[in-house]
Amino acid sequence: MAENKVQLSKKDRQAVAWRHQFLQGSWNYERMQNGGWCYSMIPAIKALYKDKDDQVAALKRHLEFYNTHPYVSSPVIGVTLALEEGRANGEPVDDATIQGVKIGMMGPLAGVGDPVFWFTVRPILGALGASLALGGSIMGPILFFVVWNAIRLAFMWYTQEFGYKAGASIANDLSGGMLGKLTEGSSILGMFIIGSLVQRWVSISFTPIVSKIPQQPGAYIDWANLPAGAEGIKTALTQYSALGANGLDATKITTLQQNLDQLIPGLAAVCLTLLCCKLLKKNVSPIVIIIALFAVGIIGRVLNFM
């Protein structure tokens, strides 16, 4: 074997990267992502092992339990490609080494992939796209789809190549500072963005009227005595821009919501979110909470306080 070294071509690695996108397709409760993992490795196994017994052994070896975040699995598969290449060339890489590297990498990497992709990048891009969409713009969905997939495809290809070139040595660096920092940095960004999303997109409005105060003349638009025609509209608009919304009526109506907004806008939203956190920690199902919130909404509307 020494006289003729087998190597994975770039085409082989691209084939693996393409198949790796289907990693979770046969996700099952027994060995989780094992089927998709084995499916992804097939082009490499075909290229590296010509002997049928070697192929059978390789396939079986890659049908073992495996589960991680589907994108950060790319560096793992890169490292595994390097290991398999070494093994095919007669290096002392046994089954336990390969499975050990896979298991050793998947845990810490899932711990990075989940907060970075599911809880930072997707909420941010999703919220950005959704806020455009709520304004009626098709750019919202397009932006989300294009940017997300550009990030994903670039990340998956380059980290797989990185893993392939670094080989097994990468597994030792995993506990190092870089990944920890990435996780911490994305948690900070994620929490910051979630804080702002709570303020912007959780809407609660308490409608009860707290006070009705008759306003001084001049503090409201005197609709009965406006000049006629377009001149009147102009006068009304000039006064409106000076007086604001309170100038529309002779009595100033203050709702409970306006009082709360003077403390800080969105106070009720943040209280509700923290309550949800508490309930979720007590293992109340999110579905139950959601249904309860709809019930509260209906009761609130019927009793006229929301």
Partner: protein, 270 residues
């Protein structure tokens, strides 16, 4: 709905179902799925609106490890189909159609969750078939089983979608128009609040004592309505970089600064 529309709806639903498990291209996210259903049924504007609203609710729904989250795929496709049916007769107003679709999406996400668990259980059998194929180095069979498993996940959404398409539009519009105002209004109020649950799920995954202040900062900055989401993103990234930079400085200059063994210091800090 015309046969061509139904076919297109089924294709979109199939993609959403596949992505519901693959989680790669994101065809199952409401923003994408509702928009596509809206386009193929001829209600693009309402589809985008529904997608945006549902996306805000589903931001925190993610499959972590073996835990399966509420299913965005069925929630967004099925609710968008129902909305399209409601709008097709032209006698239901858009707001009612959208807010009803949002409310319906919640039970649908639970139904989708159960379907997903069934599919993931059936996949176990398919993986055993792969084991047998591996015994003979039968590469093709492993590939076919993988594709079959993905197709099953696609059908998980495509079949319910097809079933919804044959519901007569009159039945949906009739039901919506018969709905009392307090119910429709109440569901709109509830729809404004449910986003909090998704955010709470994300917070619970990430929150440590260290990062709570950043939540407070984000909340307060967002109250300044002139700052756009992109602006907030820039502030957030800057804060994260500043914090990490300062923390590193502090750990270098702190207690074990005089040991003269920087590598040892780093190791000690872990």
């Amino acid at each position: 709905m015309s046969p061509i529309t139904i076919l297109l709806v089924i294709i979109v639903a199939f993609f959403a179902g596949m992505e519901g498990v693959l989680d790669e291209w994101q065809f199952h996210q409401p923003l994408v799925a509702c928009t596509l259903i809206g386009i193929v049924t001829g209600h693009p504007a309402e589809g985008i609106l529904l997608g945006g609203s549902l996306q805000m609710i589903a931001l925190g729904w993610a499959n972590i490890g073996a835990a399966v989250a509420p299913d965005a795929a069925l929630a967004s496709t099925a609710s968008a189909i129902i909305m399209a049916l409601a709008l097709s007769k032209g006698n239901v107003d858009t707001t009612t159609a959208v807010s009803t679709a949002i409310a319906l999406a919640i039970p649908l996400s639970v139904a989708g969750l159960f379907l997903s668990m069934i599919a993931r259980t059936l996949s176990t059998g398919m993986v055993h078939a792969m084991d047998r194929a591996a015994e003979n180095a039968n590469f093709g069979a492993i590939g076919r089983w993988q594709m079959a498993a993905i197709a099953m996940q696609g059908l998980r959404i495509a079949i319910p979608a097809a079933a919804l398409c044959v519901i007569p539009a009159e039945a949906v519009t009739g039901a919506l128009n018969a709905m009392p105002a307090w119910l429709a209004g109440g569901m709109a109020v509830g729809g404004g609040m449910v986003a909090a649950v998704g955010y709470a799920m994300v917070i619970n995954m990430m929150a440590t004592k260290e990062v709570w202040p950043f939540f407070a900062l984000g909340f307060v900055f967002a109250a300044i309505s002139q700052i756009t989401l992109i602006g907030l993103g820039v502030i957030g990234v800057s804060l994260a970089l500043i914090y990490l930079g300062l923390k590193e400085l502090a750990s270098q200059g702190g207690g074990n600064g005089g040991s003269g063994d920087p590598l040892g210091d780093i190791l000690n800090n872990y």
